[in-house]
Symmetry: C2
Amino acid sequence: MWQDPRQAERAAWIARAVAHPVRLRILAYLAEQGAYVMDLTTALGRRQANISQHLMVLREVGLVQAEREGMMVRYTLRSELVADLLALLARLAEGLPEEPSMGLGPRRFRRGRGRGRW
Amino acid sequence: MWQDPRQAERAAWIARAVAHPVRLRILAYLAEQGAYVMDLTTALGRRQANISQHLMVLREVGLVQAEREGMMVRYTLRSELVADLLALLARLAEGLPEEPSMGLGPRRFRRGRGRGRW
DNA sequence: CGAGTATATTCGCTGTAGCGAATAAGGAGG
DNA sequence: CCTCCTTATTCGCTACAGCGAATATACTCG
């Protein structure tokens, strides 16, 4: 699988779209129900521009689709595979024992230190 | 799912580790067989330091585990869930139609009842 | 110990993701 | 047309991922 770097890049491109807390929460929200941008801004407590920016990323990779409904735009997941992906990530997130040698929990998107020893 | 931002961050933290072509290929390689660093450098054609750096990322999030064997270090996947994740990403990568009009040419997205402007 | 091999870590650099503020653009209604 | 509402896009900024080169660490063997 992915001997070809190009294929790997495409898969990574998709993974990158998911690799952000806000986008994950957007997808999780959409997994339960379609939503308008305003719904997401209030649900996630972020600026409207920010939500739109994240939605654009998700739209570009095709994880999400948009449909205009009058003045508003309704976003929905584009495939059930996306929901599967979320579920898998959730399982991994809770299931994977944290490296004992490393700090605890996720370090907020920061490169951790740690000297090599296990 | 992930109403709590902290949980979402943890999941995103994992997704972020996967969201790189080289790391994806490393994982794909490991899904078939354990490997030493040198195996990966030759298989992927990258500098040893770079491979080690990527392995560190994967190790930090716990997708991969390392075991010293004499002078070398053997890396293996830490859970079958990781392989599942790869498979899902592969399906998404090939299954999701690339938005052909997105990013090349004028922006287009599905307009529900937009008068045929697009 | 000293030389050689395999891996890990550090460092400086560069590209770019992500953010808020501001602004534009689509659409409804008067 | 003009105003209000919702969403999209642009802009400037900052922080950090990712890279190669260099160096350090761990281990084996003689």
